[in-house]
């Protein structure tokens, strides 16, 4: 049932993210079944699938917000540490953007963006703020820098959250349904930022329901159902010529959106 091709990979280079035979259960529920995925430098992998298919869980295992039962996760060829300082260091190198933004509600937007660089990377206050303002301008929320998250719209909050991740200069970024909590008119402002990131060469794993984004930006689409990767391929292949019945059913079900 599964097509396990590992996608494009430039010869000789180590994948930035690699999952090998990853399995996970929530009690009796088998949420990840023998997941194999490898993401090369600069590659944009879009993960789609029906809800409950395990795509968010997979995304969250990559920086160990979820533990796994068996298998291996490698970051630039090194096994993801289980805990302790090593894990903390590895997390700092992977960006994560959440569905609910998760900005720190007691801090200004500027402080949200400078916290990681100052606390984790030891960057000076001035330098961290200078870089934060550059990033906030890049995502279009520089005027909101001195407000607290609750004073911003959802779209602005999510763009600020992307800036917060970028401030750590991550090797790769994971997006866990970044537009699912947004009002329709705000989705594009967030997707635009992500498109620009992708064009800039960022390695990205994006869990999303935005098919137009997948078509436009993805190097590879991974389709998951019932905890397994059912099919993967280029966006054109996947959307125009899905090979599995499961994928065809899913694509039919979302047509007309």
């Amino acid at each position: 049932m599964a097509d396990m091709s590992t996608g494009k990979r430039s010869a000789g280079s180590v994948p930035v993210i690699e999952l090998r035979h990853v399995d996970k259960h929530f009690g009796d529920l088998h949420v990840l079944r023998d997941i194999n995925l490898s993401v090369s430098r600069g590659e944009v992998v879009v993960v789609i699938g029906p809800s409950g298919s395990g795509k968010s869980t997979m995304c969250r295992t990559i920086n160990r917000l979820e533990t796994i039962d068996s298998g291996e996760i490698l970051i630039e060829g090194e096994p993801l540490p289980q805990e302790g300082r090593e894990l903390v260091r590895m997390r700092a190198e992977l960006g994560m953007v959440f569905q609910q933004f998760n900005l720190f509600s007691h801090m200004t937007i500027l402080d949200n963006v400078t916290l990681g660089p100052r606390e984790v990377l030891g960057v000076s206050k001035d330098e961290a703020e200078k870089r934060a303002m550059e990033l906030l301008s890049r995502v279009g929320v520089a005027e909101q820098a001195h407000k607290v998250p609750a004073q911003l719209s959802g779209g602005q909050q999510q763009r600020a959250a992307i800036a917060r991740s970028l401030a750590m200069r991550p090797k790769a970024m994971m997006f866990d349904e970044p537009t699912s909590a947004l009002d329709p008119e705000m989705i594009n402002e967030v997707l635009d930022v992500m498109v620009e990131l992708a064009r800039g060469g960022m390695t990205m794993v994006v869990v999303t329901h935005e098919m137009s984004f997948a078509r436009r930006v993805a190097d590879r689409v991974v389709f998951m159902a019932d905890g397994a990767i059912v099919e993967e391929g280029s966006p054109d292949e996947f959307f125009d010529r899905p090979r599995t019945q499961r994928a065809r059913e899913f694509l039919d079900s979302i047509k007309g959106h």
Binding site: M90, F98, F104, S105, H106, G116, E119, S165
Partner: protein
């Protein structure tokens, strides 16, 4: 004995009592807050033994009557060659009781912090200590100003335990006992102390409300 006579004879005694109550309350509350934070951090730490100790601390000191705890500290500890002066006994009792309740307040403040914010902090590579110091404690403190205001009032009222031991100077309730063993002031003697408590509590809650409005986190 009338109101004016009481005040003219014992006015200074009441004033000393009020000041003693205030100073014991202030000293106690500083330690209550520090201990409440430490105990709560233990209760949410990743280390099970620390969590157990923290929970046990709260269960023990939240569930002992103040007088019983004072008796243990003042009369049982000397058996173990730990002899504290009377004022310290009262303050330690108040701190132990208050910090257990303070930790419960603080816990409820921590529970208002979305798990997503903690996950975001972990994703940035912040350590447990950094997450506690930069995200959890500041937010928990700012959302629990009003319960902590109540706690400060409760701490003040708990210092009335001082009337059970020979303090010098006596605090407000001790002053009442002192006067009532000498005069027939009756309820009036107590009323003056009560007014001091109520007046102080009023000031505390006024300040607490102001502070809450200033630091409350927009959500």
């Amino acid at each position: 004995m009338g109101f004016s006579e009481l005040l003219s004879t014992y006015g200074e005694k009441y004033l000393q009592g009020l000041l003693a109550t205030w100073s014991m309350t202030a000293v106690s509350f500083v330690f209550v807050m520090v201990l409440a934070v430490l105990v709560t951090v233990a209760r949410v730490s990743p280390y099970r033994p620390l969590r157990v100790v923290g929970d046990l601390y709260v269960q023990v000191f939240r569930n002992i009557p103040g007088v019983a705890l004072l008796i243990i500290i003042a009369y049982a500890l000397p058996e173990l060659r730990i002899v504290l002066d009377w004022r310290t006994c009262v303050i330690v009792t108040t701190i132990l009781l208050g910090s257990a309740f303070g930790s419960e307040n603080f816990m409820s403040g921590i529970n208002t912090i979305g798990v997503g914010q903690i996950e975001a902090a972990r994703s940035l590579g912040l350590s447990f200590t950094q997450i506690i110091g930069k995200i959890v404690i500041p937010q928990a403190l700012r959302t629990t100003v009003l319960p902590m205001t109540n706690l400060l009032i409760a701490v003040m009222l708990t210092t009335a335990l001082g009337s059970q031991v020979p303090l010098n100077p006596q605090e407000l309730t001790g002053v009442v006992s002192y006067i009532n063993t000498r005069e027939t002031g009756g309820i009036l003697t107590f009323l003056i102390s009560a007014l001091c408590y109520v007046g102080t509590a009023f000031l505390i809650s006024f300040a607490g409300n102001r502070l809450d409005k200033r630091v409350r986190i927009l959500r």
